[in-house]
Amino acid sequence: MQKSPWIIHYDGSSCNGCDIEVLAALTPMYDVERFGVINTGNPKHADIFLITGSVNEQNKAVIKNIYDQMPNPKVVMAVGICACTGGIFRECYNVLGGPDKVIPVDLYVPGCAARPESIIDGVVKALELWEGKRRKRTGRESIQT
């Protein structure tokens, strides 16, 4: 089980509710750095791509670009109901739906807004997925230097 998930957080067209909850997870109250989580602003350093909000015509290229810049193995996590399905913005003329319309999404964290507890739970699940992908990529059973 890997212990150092570095996250890149991208806000699609969310109402900012989920973003505040994601950032709340970094505060002293929840302190995700306990699990080695770092909220890096750099796709090239990230292991987990955390997306809040729905995807629209404007940001679909951005999401694709961030995804492509992340080195393998990587896990994509959709946080909040907007990122899962489009949520209440689903019917808007410019909204395509969740990020799974553009890139493969591995994990869906529901909630409006998603609670910090469930976001942390999602990250822990993402770690298991990450480990599986790493094994597939390197062919090695356990993590090694």
């Binding site: 302190d31 890096t40 750099n42 090239k44 350093h45 993590i143």
Partner: protein, 283 residues
């Protein structure tokens, strides 16, 4: 100080440096009212990095990083083997130059700005580092670290209080602590993403991390040289100073490069040159 310390340095400096980084992160978290990651977290990070893909803009990037590591180990090696202090300073500069070149190779705006800021940082701390060497020479009459460390003479810091304080000032730049973490910062976000390390992924980022551990142990060694021949006292003071740097890191916002360069030069001129002048006149 001989081959034994050299071997100890090459083998254990990354361990010590990594542990220091872990303690640093834990103390930082506690200062911010958080619990913080495990002490071994930096090692988990590096192990993970070596399991990731090495995504590069240009392949030569990684070559430069390997040189960065090699020259850092070489620099620390000659320091801990008790060789020439002058050589240490100049090969340390060479090692850092390789990091700057690697960042330029990344050719993204962020890593280019990071590289430029790193050059400004080098410009800021280099005068004080040169005064450090001159001061140590004037107080001990030799450049050979082994002779400095083993000959019985009054503690060097008694002649070099100004240079000691000035060196602490630029140590903040070298350790990449706020307010002087312009080119890259070990905290999550920065206005230029990750600055100089932006374009490095996986294994090459891991190598940069390990090189910083080597560098930090070397720098703490340079601090403890002020207390020669009483090196154990020096090591204790160096660790205390590292704690002080963590505190400064958490208490300060990032400064602008103008302030960084100007203030370091003023410190070098007043404390560094002033100390040397005093040694020449009354020494």
């Amino acid at each position: 100080m001989d081959t034994l310390t050299l071997i100890l340095y090459v083998a254990f400096a990354p361990l010590l440096g990594g542990l220091l980084a872990g303690v640093d992160r834990r103390i930082t978290a506690r200062m911010q009212g958080r619990f913080g990651p495990p002490i071994l977290q930096p090692f988990y990070d590096v192990v993970k990095l070596f399991n990731k893909e090495n995504l590069v803009v240009r392949r030569s990037q990684t070559v430069y990083i390997i040189f960065f590591l090699a020259f850092m180990v070489f620099t620390g090696g000659i320091f801990y083997a008790g060789e020439d202090l002058l050589l240490v300073i100049f090969s340390l500069m060479l090692a850092n130059t390789f990091l700057v070149l690697a960042a330029y190779k990344g050719s993204s705006p962020y890593s280019a700005i990071g590289a430029e800021r790193e050059l400004l940082q080098i410009m800021a701390y280099e005068p004080m580092v040169l005064f450090y060497v001159v001061g140590i020479y004037m107080a001990s009459k030799t450049f050979y670290i082994e002779t400095i460390a083993t000959t019985q003479h009054p503690m060097l810091i008694r002649f070099l209080p100004g240079i000691f304080l000035g060196f602490l000032y630029v140590l903040t730049i070298k350790l990449r602590k706020s307010p002087f973490d312009l080119s890259t910062s070990h905290h999550g976000h920065q206005e230029i993403v990750k600055g100089i390390t932006t374009e490095f992924t996986g294994p090459s980022l891991g190598l940069i991390e390990i090189t910083h551990w080597y560098e930090n142990v070397l720098l703490l060694g340079m601090v403890s040289l002020f207390f020669a021949p009483n090196l154990w006292l020096g090591a204790g003071v160096a660790l205390a100073i590292y704690l002080l740097e963590i505190f400064i890191d958490n208490a300060c916002a990032r400064a602008r490069w103008q302030f960084t360069v100007f203030s370091s030069w003023v410190v070098a001129a007043v404390l560094g040159f002033g100390n040397i002048l005093a040694l020449t006149l009354f020494g």
